[in-house]
């Protein structure tokens, strides 16, 4: 499947939502032209966050919600999203879902001779056990959403990879947003590594996105539902 390039982040989130509702196994990548910060939907139920959301919008970073786990993630032209829709009725535990997506990212990086690991990176945005790291710095963050669909439980397993350095002015915006959400952080920009550092040639990045999709599709095959395989 070709990568999606949307005008707005909301369109990418909507395509993920639609794919999850359909519940059919698929893999795709997407980026968006305009920037936004995406936060878990649960954050916006906190009354204290309204002022911080307003401040973000005034800084050029409107806040959107995603019904998924994790923290605040800057989105836009410099963030590649990998989305995997997988049937979750066949023993795809949360750990298996994370192994699937992290394994696909590791494999895509290996094709460019880049060694990577999985683990937490203190000081990174949206930190978790299932980051993909290079040289101890966070390259990709992952999260999941599980829900019931027509053919049974379905998982959206997704990752965000920055392709360039985040603007310096964004860090205080993100810090304020986390505080308002009751999730204070002390972000360390140096905890992140972006794809541009690893693949300086702009021509290599579409190739990397293609490698990501192929690696994810291969790893998704064993989890595809019986009905899907027969179709």
């Amino acid at each position: 499947m070709k990568p999606w390039h949307f005008e707005h982040v909301a369109e990418g989130l909507a395509v993920e939502e639609e794919a999850l509702s359909e519940g059919v196994s698929t893999v795709f990548t997407w980026t968006a032209h305009h920037s936004a910060i995406v936060v878990p939907r649960a954050w916006t139920r906190r009354k204290a966050i309204a002022d911080a959301v307003f401040a973000c919008a005034n800084s050029g970073w409107p806040v959107l919600t995603r019904a998924s786990g994790g923290g605040a993630v800057p989105q836009g032209a410099e963030t590649v999203n990998l989305a995997i829709i997988a049937p979750a009725s066949s023993g795809l535990t949360l750990e298996a879902g994370y192994e699937l997506i992290c394994g696909a990212i590791h494999e895509a990086l290996r094709r460019f001779d880049i060694a990577s690991e999985t683990g937490a990176v203190p000081g990174a945005l949206c930190d978790g056990m299932w980051n993909v790291t290079v040289g101890g710095r966070k390259l990709a963050g992952t999260a999941q959403r599980r829900r019931a669909a027509l053919f049974g439980p379905v998982a959206l397993i997704h990752a965000a990879i920055f392709t360039n350095e985040l603007p310096e002015s964004l860090w205080p915006v993100l810090t304020g947003l986390h505080e308002a959400a009751g999730q204070p952080i002390e972000p360390n920009p140096a905890a992140h590594i972006h794809l541009g550092e690893l693949l300086p040639s702009a021509a290599a990045r579409p190739m990397f996105a293609g490698a990501l999709v192929r690696a994810a599709e291969e790893r998704l095959k064993p989890w595809r539902g019986t009905a899907e395989r027969a179709a």
């Binding site: 139920r45 535990t93 949360l94 299932w130 019931a148």
Partner: protein
């Protein structure tokens, strides 16, 4: 007889707990089987819980409460 609403015990392998991030139906509300009634969060995963039966919802574990795998968070009678 009441039908229990449980955190699935086979969703993840570890001992991590989940947080109930939202009840989407009120205590005492009438719910239909299959309706989305709650969201939980664990290990950067949002998991949606659907009503296992039709009837009246009794919330056992409140929003923002922490629950273990297999724990009963509500009942429908």
């Amino acid at each position: 007889m009441a039908t229990e609403i449980r955190i699935p015990d086979d969703l993840w392998d570890g001992d991590e707990e989940a947080v109930i991030t939202a009840w989407l139906a009120s205590d005492g509300a009438t719910v239909k089987e299959g309706a989305l009634i709650a969201e939980i969060m664990t290990a950067k995963v949002q998991y949606e819980i659907n009503a296992p039966a039709s009837g009246t919802l009794a919330i056992v574990k409140e929003q923002d409460g922490v629950a273990s795998k297999g724990e009963v968070i509500g009942q429908i009678s």
